[in-house]
């Protein structure tokens, strides 16, 4: 079951040999993933579905095979258009037969089964949004395969509003299975955690709500979905799903499948002290998924509901147990990210607002061209008939007297969407002048963003210092977000110009991939002292990186902010094919002026 589309063009580390070290509780994770299948079969759309993060490979195939045993699934092809989901007129067949031919949408067709979406991270935002709406109605349960490389910070991501509506999130990227055993048909060992039903859990609603808050999950949807999963787990195991009959195992399954993967922080030691942060997708940055909880979960014994009298002897307060279970599935990298203090970086939604310059799907109408309808292209009916008309005499007349229309008569509509632009600042944050330079760059970003509504421009910032470059602000047009993320930017250290230029170029290329035009603005004094290897000096490495801009055809402005400009800056600018601006005293306004000159002048 490999996806039927060619794999992504960008080469990543995970083509053949997965770099992720095998997970220590690989088996538990796998058993958990299998239990999710039963839950979906028992609950259907009430829990939305499953988001499975796994690269294509034997593990995922084994999971898909296990799913197929329990639940039929229909595939949503990558080439699908909106009609594929909702049904509509099959234009090609209609034209061929002369009578309307309808096709049933996949949403209806998949009733009673599930709808499986391979490469869900690349799903076009319109389809993803339609699926998200469908989740609130009577849609089949969704199985999304997120095949993005977890190590790639630039990878595409599933539309957050869709991911949020799928209760179960599973990450199989670090799971390794004993393949031989699997091929021989041996069942993996059952999960100890879910094996025994355990005692009756007291007040499950409270336990799940408290645990969600302790894990920093702001959305109220998470505990609601978790409760549904707990009930479905009880049903799937042949037990009653009445609220006072849920067992520890049900709660553990719900916590591990729903709450753990959504966590944005470790449960705080003093419970309920601060407000949960706004909902964030876990930042998947570091590969090794840390499994072992560093500290035992805090006792949250002052939770409301504890003092309700419960005459039954066995009921236990499941909050701690729920937190424990959730910690087996914390998103990979959460702990590292917490340690590094980078948790606040919410990933961008998958470029929903980017529009291609010439589009066949949206924008203002801009004439027609020959082509096949479908894949989002709409038939231009009048033009099609016009182009078929002159040939009617020549073509053999149809028996029913209708127009004879052939494939090459078909015309589709074309649209022009407004070009949208992204300005990427690559700022030298090294040395003593770093502070002032960064401050002015931040000022320039805020000024640009303040005007950005008009042009819908986005801004990003790459800072380079020490030995590397980092994407301090991913492309955004949100002023509050820019403020928040730029607040803690540090300066000082060496000057790795090559690294900075490389990263900025990658961001620019990614933006072009989203159909936006990109402009890179480099702020540096042009003197590199980090980068290169034994043969090449840092300056030569920087020049090489600069030449890549010319090759890639990326527009750039080079702002030389050395107090006394030296030739290195001009050389770099020339190598980049960039407009050179010398600003010995950088200030935000002149940076903005330089950017504007570049965008209007080109």
């Amino acid at each position: 079951m490999t996806p039927d589309l060619p794999s992504r063009a960008r080469e990543g580390p995970g083509v053949g040999l997965p770099p992720v070290p095998p997970d220590e509780n690989s088996e538990d994770r796998w058993a958990l993933a299998l239990s999710a299948i039963d839950i979906i079969a028992a609950a259907g759309n009430r829990v939305g579905g499953i988001l499975l993060r796994a690269r294509p490979g034997p593990v995922r195939d084994a999971w898909a095979a296990a799913l197929a045993l329990v639940l039929l699934s229909r595939r949503l092809p990558g080439s699908a258009d909106a009609d594929a989901l909702d049904g509509g007129l099959d234009l090609t067949a209609t034209l061929a037969s002369g009578t309307p031919v309808h096709r049933i949408g996949l949403l209806r067709e998949a009733r009673g089964a599930s709808l499986l979406v391979p490469m869900a991270e690349r799903l076009n935002p319109a389809l993803a949004a339609r699926l998200a709406t469908a989740m609130d109605e009577d849609a089949p349960p969704l199985i999304l395969f997120d095949e993005g490389d977890p190590d790639d910070p630039e990878r595409e991501r599933i539309l957050p509003s869709l991911a949020e509506r799928l209760a179960i999130h599973i990450d199989l990227n670090a799971v390794r299975l004993p393949m031989a055993a699997l091929l021989a048909g041996e069942a993996p060992p059952p999960l100890a955690m879910l094996d025994e039903p355990g005692a009756v859990a007291k007040d499950p609603e409270t336990a799940l709500s408290v645990a969600a808050a302790a894990l920093g999950i702001a959305s109220i949807r998470a505990p609601i979905l978790a409760l549904r999963v707990a009930r479905a787990h009880a049903r799937a195991n042949g037990r009653s799903d009445a609220i006072d009959q849920l067992r520890e195992a049900d709660m553990a399954a719900a916590a591990a499948l729903v709450l753990g993967p959504r966590a944005t922080r470790m449960p705080p030691p003093p419970p309920e002290e601060e407000q949960p942060p706004p909902p964030q997708e876990p930042p998947p940055e570091e590969p090794p998924p840390d499994q072992e909880p560093p500290e035992p979960p805090p006792p949250s014994d002052d939770t409301p509901g504890d003092d309700q009298e419960q005459p039954e002897p066995p009921p236990i307060d499941p909050t701690d147990m729920v937190l424990d279970a959730a910690q087996t599935t914390l998103p990979p990298g959460l702990l590292d990210a917490l340690a590094a203090g980078t948790i606040s970086k919410a990933p961008k939604s998958s470029g929903a607002s980017g529009a291609k310059q010439k589009s066949i799907t949206s924008g203002r109408p801009a004439g027609v061209r020959p082509g096949m309808p479908g894949r989002g292209a709409r038939l231009a009916l009048i033009e099609t008939i016009k182009s078929a008309a002159p040939w009617q005499k020549v073509r053999p007349a149809r028996a029913d007297g209708r127009l004879a229309i052939r494939t090459d008569d078909l015309r589709i509509r074309r649209y022009i969407a407004q070009t949208q632009s992204t300005t990427i600042f690559a700022v030298d944050a090294s040395g003593s002048a770093a502070f002032a330079r960064l401050a002015e760059a931040k000022g320039a970003i805020e000024l640009l963003l303040a005007e950005a509504y008009v042009k819908r421009a986005e801004v990003a910032l790459v800072a380079f210092r020490g030995s590397e470059a980092s994407l301090a602000l991913p492309p955004t047009r949100s002023l509050p977000r820019a403020r928040k993320e730029l607040a803690g930017l540090a300066g000082g250290g060496g000057t790795p110009i090559a690294a900075g230029l490389d990263l900025a170029r990658k961001v620019a290329e990614a933006e072009r991939g989203r159909g936006r035009s990109a402009l890179v603005v480099v702020l540096t004094d042009g003197r590199a002292n980090v980068g290169g290897d034994g043969q090449t000096s840092p300056q030569e490495a920087a020049l090489a990186s600069a030449r890549a801009y010319r090759v890639a055809g990326i527009a750039a402005v080079f702002i030389d902010c050395a107090p006394r400009p030296r030739p290195q800056g001009a050389e770099l600018a020339a190598a980049m094919g960039a407009r050179l601006v010398t600003l010995p005293r950088v200030d935000a306004k002149s940076v903005v002026a330089a950017v504007k000159a570049a965008t209007t002048g080109v």
Binding site: E164, I220, A222, I224, L379, Y453
Partner: protein
């Protein structure tokens, strides 16, 4: 068709509920913009309000949901054909998906008819479907610009004008526009923002008791929708009555000159651009008074709606981070003696 979650069963979020009620009482307010995170019950609330409203009378078979007592002729002549017959229909709630194409929104040539019978017929889009109801747009800040422009034009004029594919049609499309979005994911253009009547901020509830209550209620609703809805029947009916009463009362509510003055002073004190702010403020205050069953708009009515009506219209100052809400509250405290 699932049952709708009762409006009065929504825990907390009182500002959003109040704004929606005002919009239901006074459709001319021009819609509500809801800012907030995912999973805060935005779409549940809008859906619930649409479900709460009493069924409306429509011309049978009309694809635009025309009202029988409307005097403008329906473009397809349904009203003439239907004669005196009327039909009841649920107030429509249309969820505009993020990726909707212009065709689907505006309507387009009915290809099926065109191909099968050669007839040139208009296939109404979502705007026609939303006529006299609610049009809800989640993540409106991610919507493409040209669609936003189009929606605004229709929302303001109440008419959808279609000039495409050889069709030339205009049909009524009066709806209450409810948009939602998360400002962290992109800003909305000020021109668009300004056209929304009211704006509210929803935050995810932080009170643990509330959160647990929400989970409990959703769970009960899951298990026994009919029973749950029945439990809230009385409060739903009360809300319904309040809306109906307020709608009837609204034309009688008086606005004294001094209240007009207060509105003007408030707008200039906080720097809200344009007349639209003032107009909306007073309309909202009237609706607020009508809901409270008062014949006259008082200063406290203005104060109660001022934040919702003006928050999104303040000129933005890049260097001043004081929240709009705080600026309005401050101005209110100065203008209205306690």
């Amino acid at each position: 068709m699932r049952m709708t979650f009762p409006f009065t069963a929504i825990v907390g979020q009182s500002e959003m509920k109040q704004a929606l009620l005002l919009a239901a009482v006074e459709p001319r307010l021009g819609g509500v913009m809801v800012f907030g995170d995912r999973g805060t019950g935005k779409s549940t609330a809008v859906r619930a309000l649409a479900g709460l409203l009493p069924p409306m009378k429509v011309v049978p078979g009309c694809r635009y949901g025309c009202a029988p007592d409307d005097r403008s002729p329906c473009i397809e002549g349904c009203r003439e054909r239907a004669g005196k017959r009327t039909e009841e229909a649920q107030v429509p709630f249309v969820d505009l998906p993020l990726g909707a194409t212009e065709d689907r929104v505006v309507g387009s040539l009915d290809l099926e008819r065109a191909l099968a019978t050669g007839e040139k017929r208009f296939e109404p889009g979502l705007l026609a479907k939303a006529n006299r109801g609610f049009l809800y747009i989640d993540e409106i800040n991610l919507l493409e610009d040209h669609l936003v422009d189009l929606l605004l034009d229709v929302a303001v004029s109440g008419t959808n004008v279609v000039e495409r594919e050889g069709l030339s049609i205009r049909h009524p499309a009066r709806f209450i526009l409810v948009g939602s979005g998360n400002p962290e994911e992109g800003e909305l253009r000020p021109q668009l923002l300004d056209r929304f009547g009211l704006s509210v901020d929803v935050r995810t509830p932080t009170d643990m008791g509330d959160r647990i209550e929400i989970v409990k209620r959703c769970d009960r609703f899951d298990r026994d929708p009919a029973g749950f809805v029945a439990d809230f029947k009385d409060s739903e009916q009360e809300t319904l009555d309040a809306i109906a009463r307020a709608r009837k009362y609204l034309p009688k509510v008086q606005v004294a000159d001094e209240m007009l003055g207060l509105g003007a002073r408030l707008c200039s004190a906080v720097g809200a651009d344009g007349l639209r702010g003032e107009l909306t403020l007073l309309r909202a205050a009237r609706a607020q008074a009508a809901l409270a069953h008062k014949k006259e708009v008082k200063a406290h009515h203005v104060a109660e709606v001022a934040v919702m009506a003006l928050r999104h219209r303040l000129r933005r100052n890049v260097l001043d981070e004081t929240g709009s809400t705080a600026r309005i509250t401050r101005a209110l405290a100065e203008l209205i003696p306690a």
